[in-house]
Amino acid sequence: MNPVAESAAVAAGANPLLPVHGAVPLSWYLILSAMLFMIGVVGVLVKRNPIVIFMSIELMLNAVNLSFIAFGRYLGNVGGQMFAIFVMAVAAAEVAVGLGILISIFRSRENINVDEINVMKG
């Protein structure tokens, strides 16, 4: 983080989006976001239940949202929040479609372990 740039930007205007003095620094948010994202990635790679995998993917998306909002707040820019809203809407659409697919597969085979979804190979 660049303390000079930060204090200059804070002094530059009364932008309500800018962080207040003494707030949690940007890097903490970014580290948290990166950690959440990695937890999500590891979850996708090691879990076998599609619903848990999907929850891990949602965790990844929300980690990204945290990054967007932290950047937006740090920069005093609304773009980050807007992007996060779009991500939320898209994630909702994915939830609806994903659950629909998983329910239909669950109806037909009573078991939704990804290891057993393997009619096709090659």
Partner: protein, 129 residues
Amino acid sequence: MPGQTNSLLNSYIPVLCMGLMALFLVVVFVGLSRILGPQRPTPQKLAPYECGVTPIGSARERFPIKFYLIAMLFIVFDIETVFLYPWAATFRHSGGMMLFNLFEMAVFVGILLVGYVYVWRRGAFEWDN
């Protein structure tokens, strides 16, 4: 910057203390009753308590699929309202574009309405079949 970070951290110390106290008390009380209390288990005592009524089956029952359908529809239509908020927040600053912005939101709601009509006419809201 380090000064700011420290003052920020300092303000969280009371919260941390309270958390530790709460944890301590819980561990002590639960631990003491475990160690000191007499333990004579009977089947009646071990059964899950359901307001005095005899339990019927496991709580891990399957839900009818209808609940999922309603939940899915709820998520989709619920999240769409998230776009209304930024629109409403900026609407009053739209100046000469006010009428156009109103029209834009009408288009957005219109598209949602098409989806709603489709879901409705396809019978997704009918609970009984």
